[in-house]
Every structure is written in C-alpha cells, then in structure tokens.
Amino acid sequence: MTTYFNEMYDGGQVRPPYARLSDWMASMPADRRLEKQAEAEALFRRIGITFAVYGEGGDPDRLIPFDMFPRVFTGGEWAKLERGIKQRARALNAFLVDVYGRGEIVRAGRIPAHLVYQNEAFERAVVGFVPPKGVYSHIVGIDIVRTGPTDFYVLEDNCRTPSGVSYMLESREMMMRMFPDLFRENRIEPVDRYHELLRRTLASVAPAKCERDPTIVILTPGHYNSAYYEHSFLADLMGVELVEGADLFVDGAFVYMRTTQGPKRVDVIYRRIDDAFIDPLCFRPDSMLGIPGLMDVYRSGGVTICSAPGAGVADDKAVYTYVPEMVRFYLGEEPILNNVPTWKCAERDDLGHVLANLGDLVVKEVHGSGGYGMLVGPKSTKAEIEEFRARIVADPGNYIAQPTLALSTTPTFVEEGIAPRHVDLRPYCLVGEKIELVPGGMTRVALKDGSLVVNSSQGGGVKDTWVLAE
C-alpha cells in the first residue's frame, strides 16, 4: 500500500501553511459550501471560461470543475521551486539555440544525435537562426508533482504553447471575489502581474527591424479551438489583437494585419497554433490557418514568432530524460528539480524492464499529450495491460515508462464533504530579456477518488494555488 504525502496534514497535525485554512474549512457548513460552489460555477459560466474536451460528444462549452479549496506553498518551498524552474527554462532555451546551431551538446556526446536530428519536432527550416535574445521558448510550462515534504519532480516540460494560465488567473479572481476574508487573513503573493510580464516578455523579443513600440498579436486557430477562451482572455488583458491566420498577410519583408484603417505592421506574434500550421509555403501546403510567406519574414528578421518554430524538439518525452544533462552542460550547475526516473522503451534493457513491470508503471507515448494514449499500470485491468503491451512491442520507440508516482494530495471539496485528492502543478515561466515567474500556477486535481490522472480531459479540475508571503 503506497502512502501519499498529504500537503495539509502531518499525521493529526495541520501543517503550518494550511493553519488558517483549517479554521476556514471548519466554518463552512455543507449548505454554505454548496451555495458557494454554485456561485463559482455560475461565475465561470457567465464569463465563458470553458474547456472543450477532445473525442467526446456533448456540450462543447463544458466547464472545467473548479475546486474552492486552495493549494498552498510556503515562501520557502516556492523559492526553491522558482530557482529550479528558472534554471530549467534557461537550460531548455540554451539547448534549442544549440541544436539549431552547431549542436555542441550532440558533438560532446551528451545526448544521442538521432534523438535530436531524427526527431519529428526538429525543424530544419530554422537551422542556423538565432531568434531575438536567443529565446526559442518564451513561455515554458513545467509540470511538477510533489511526493514528499521536500520532494518535487518534473513530470514534463511544455516549450511550445502551454495552455491553462487563464485558469491560474481566473481561479484567483474567483477566490478573491468569493472569499475576500481569506486574503486578508493570509498573506498571499499576487499573480495578477502575469499579463503585464507576458506583454513585456513578448515586447522584449521584438525583431531588430522594429524601431518603435512593438505591435504584438496573439494568433489563434479560431473560436472552435478548445483554448479559444484563454487566447481571447490573454489578448484582452494585454490589450493586443487576437488574430486568425487570415487576418495577417505578408507584404514585402514584413507581416501586416488587416484592420479597418488599412494594413498595420505586426512585430511579435504569440502564436497558439502548431508549427505545421504557421506557413503553408514552408510547412503544410494544405493549411488554411497559416500565413503564406511568414517563415521568410521570420528568418529574415521582420517578425518574431513566440514560441519559435522548432521549440518542440526540447519538450519531447524522449528528450526530456536529458534535461538534467542540459542543465549541467550549458549552465555548469546541478539540477535543482529532479526528473522522474524514466525508461526509454527504444533501449533494449529498458524495454525488458518495462515489459516485466507493466503493472507498476505509467507508460506514455513519446509525442502524446493531454493524458491520452497512456497506461497507468496499477489502475488498469489485465486486459488493458495486455493490449498496451502489444502496442509497445509493435513500436517500442514510441513509448517511455515511469514509476507510478505517489502524487501528493490536498483537501478537496467532494460530494461527501472534504477528502484528499491528488494534485500536480503547472507554473508558467516567462523567458525574454529577463526570466520571470509569478508566484503561482495552475494546480490540477484528480477529482475521482484514487485517480492519479489530473488532466481536465480525464475528469480533472483546477484549484487556486497560493504562495504565502514570507
């Protein structure tokens, strides 16, 4: 029987960061709680923060469940996390500039060449290009789990376009509106600087050819996209235009947007579409979403694309295992945050171990995301395990495996009252001229009893994440 670290209780004792919440919890009878829960849901629905779930029918405007019980970190815990996150974001960007340049880390034999250069996400079209300030990944979302008082592990890195930051901001907004007293009693670090930091980060990587206050836009695949709410939310907060591919066009050496007052030059594009859809001339000729000629403008320094095309090669699950090596190689430091031990099924010895221990492991597709195409051994039936075994054997290179982590729990409001549920954390690190991190992130919670899968597509919810001021 695995024991899970409960972030609120140490045996019968309440841990200090949760001390005041304990009283708050006691002051919340069931009827008041239900009332508040309904209020939160109505607020969310009213502002339209919804999350479409892939591969399911039903309401496309489904709400992601919001749990009112906050998740709390002490200032000290956060300080360590912050150092570790920033270190990792720096190393990942150094890696990207390197592999699209001379590839020193490969030449030094610290990462296998084929993992990088034969990787689907390795983009030949950007080889030799150094983006402004040497940044490929401007928003790095790092998924972190906790297994003990001081034990944190990085589950995966998201270097392309990590989503969910709107939940961090809206959850806080919601809590402050519903429970203002809590914020008077607890000294909680604010997160509302995020959009200003994001705007500054994007402005700081404007191309050299831009000699005025840069014009920034957010590029969305459109309002059918599951994260459209977030795209429009961020555009609104930053006061920038939310554009679709058809709103932009290339003329000469620059990109312009179509406005009611004629063409307006665009300097920085924060894109929320995949590489393949950026420019039909360069990538997919069938793409209706992209902007023909954009890559030529980008590479000749007429516009900055955030994240830079090609950034995905750093957050591949097979490359992930080498991130600690990147930290050592580029920064000459020891990693502050640990990786989860990972077996690469592509390697014969690892594969043997994985196949022999499928019942205890979590197996993931190398390129998968969103909790799809994975096996959680201890939670699966024999038949499911055998079916997955066949898939691994058929294509070992497509899978990695990790031990089933004992994810920490925090108190969560559930049907029967309050019960511990497993959580993870995704903070959003901003990389431009400076590296910035607001104290907080998106805490995802597995609402089903015993479930370790926190993805919203698999029945997960979100919580407000508090960092206490020291």
């Binding site: 699209y100 340049g101 001379r102 590839g103 490969v106 060449a113 084929h114 250069y117 034969q118 689907e120 390795f122 030949r124 079209a125 950007v126 080889v127 030799g128 290009f129 066009f249 290339v250 003329d251 000469g252 050496a253 039909p280 001339l281 360069c282 000729p285 023909p292 000629g293 890559m295 030529d296 403008v297 980008y298 590479r299 000749s300 320094g301 007429g302």
Partner: protein, 268 residues
C-alpha cells in the same frame, strides 16, 4: 564551363487574384564547383521580401505581388562558371546535420518494392553502394516524359517503371534512406548538349551523404554524377520541399503555368 541561364516562369490566372506570395530558391549554391558571375531574378510587379541563407546553405528570397493581377512573370538570368567535381559538393557551407535527412516524406516513403530495390544494391563500401543504388534506380525506372506528374510518389513511379528526373531522384532518396543513408533532393539546371543525351534544362537529382566525402550528387536519369554541365540551386527532403519556386495566390483564380528554360554554354 561557362553556362548562361535564361529561365522564365509565367503564371496566368483565369480571374485576377488579390495577392501572390512566393518563396524562391533560385540562386546557385555556393561551393567549389560553381562560381556565379552574374545572376538576377525579377518578378513582374513584385516587391522583394525577406532574404536569408538557410541552414542547408540555400539562399531563400521572398517576394510578394499586390493584386489584382492576372499574370506574373518570374525571370532568372545569369552566368555561372562551373567545374567538374565528380558530384562531390566540396566547399559547401551548411549547418543541418546529415542525420536530419533520414526522415521519409509522403513522396519518398519506401514501400516494399523500394526496400527490395535498395537491398539489391546494398554493399559494404558506402561509396560503391551509393553508385550501385543510383544505377539500380536508373535501371528500374525508364525515362519517359509525361509518364508521371508532379505529385507522383517514389513508390508509384517504381511500380510504373517509368518517370522523369523527379521520379528518379525521389526513388533514389527513398532507397538510400531505407539503407540508413542520408539523402536529399536537389533542384538545378542542366546544360543540354548537342549530342542529345541529357533531357531537361530544368533538372533535379539526388545527393547522398557518404562518410569521408560528404554530400555527393547522383543523377540516375542521366546515369552520371553532376559535372560541369550542372548548376545546383537548392535542396530539400523531396521535390516539393526543394522546389525553386513555392507560391500561393489569394483569390478565386485558377492558375496555369508556362515555363521556358534555356541553358547554354559559351566558349571560354
């Protein structure tokens, strides 16, 4: 050899289009086998866009044309002094590692027949193997203009047993990659000599990466390695990616294309 090129591509639209965007790889590569004496690309009504040298060493130049427009002429004129290097791409500066050229594309996917063809030419010595592969492809696909179209895949061309230089190059690339040899598609020009051997002035061939030599060109269509009669422009994973002109028009108009290429040799 001193070669002059006059290459005109005319795009016509049955209805005027609102705008055209193009990306060109129309400038001769810089390596020991060729020296550019003069080179100019013009686009009628066009505005020059961004330009840069990419990681594969190709010069890329963007162009845009504002509409409404119903005809666009892209004209390439220039003079290049070439040297026969027996196909070896000596002195070419590029950053993309050869390993990045092992990836199959839809047009260069090796089916069972291509894999079998590759296996039939497998040898221990990488250079001999490269030659054997080119020879095998030349034998398996007979040159016949009009037998295939621009979207024909390597597998389809082999099954058909006929094709043009594009099919030869893509089939060779597919075979090479099937044996773990990095390979890429090269677009360029070929001087059509009077004795009638070579076929197309606008030409394509393959490059295979051979340890110790680097990239070496192979032209199965002409059963040779590129020599002084060849001008190399740019490269890519397949024909589509290496296309000297890539473009998109915005509007309802249907596009038709008319290309004339003349490559001549001048007495030195």
């Amino acid at each position: 050899m001193l070669l002059t090129v006059d290459h005109v591509t005319r795009y016509r639209y049955d209805q005027p289009v609102r705008a055209v965007v193009q990306s060109h790889r129309l400038t001769p590569a810089r390596f020991d086998g060729q020296k550019v004496l003069a080179w100019a690309v013009t686009v009628s009504g066009g505005e020059m866009g961004g330009a840069f040298r990419d990681g594969a060493g190709d010069w890329v130049q963007g162009w845009t044309v504002k509409g409404p427009v119903s005809e666009i002429e892209v004209r390439v004129q220039g003079q290049v002094e070439t040297t026969d290097l027996a196909g070896v791409l000596r002195g070419h500066r590029e950053l993309v590692p050869p390993l990045a050229y092992l990836r199959a594309t839809p047009a260069t996917e090796a089916d069972a027949a291509l894999q079998a063809l590759a296996a039939s030419a497998a040898q221990d010595d990488p250079l001999s193997q490269a030659h054997a592969l080119a020879f095998a492809v030349a034998g398996a696909i007979t040159y016949r203009p009009g037998a295939t179209h621009s979207h024909t895949t390597a597998a389809e061309a082999l099954a058909q047993g006929e094709g043009v230089c594009q099919d030869h190059a893509q089939a060779l690339i597919a075979c090479a990659r099937a044996l773990g040899v990095p390979a890429r598609y090269v677009a360029g020009y070929l001087f059509a000599s009077d004795d009638g051997q070579p076929h197309e002035a606008s030409h394509a061939w393959a490059e295979l990466h051979v340890p110790g030599y680097g990239w070496i060109g192979f032209d199965p269509a002409n059963r040779t390695c590129p020599d002084a009669r060849y001008i190399r422009l740019g490269s890519g994973l397949d024909a589509k990616e290496a296309a000297p002109i890539r473009g998109i028009a915005r509007g309802q108009g249907c596009e038709s294309l008319d290309v004339t290429v003349a490559v001549q040799s001048q007495a030195q």
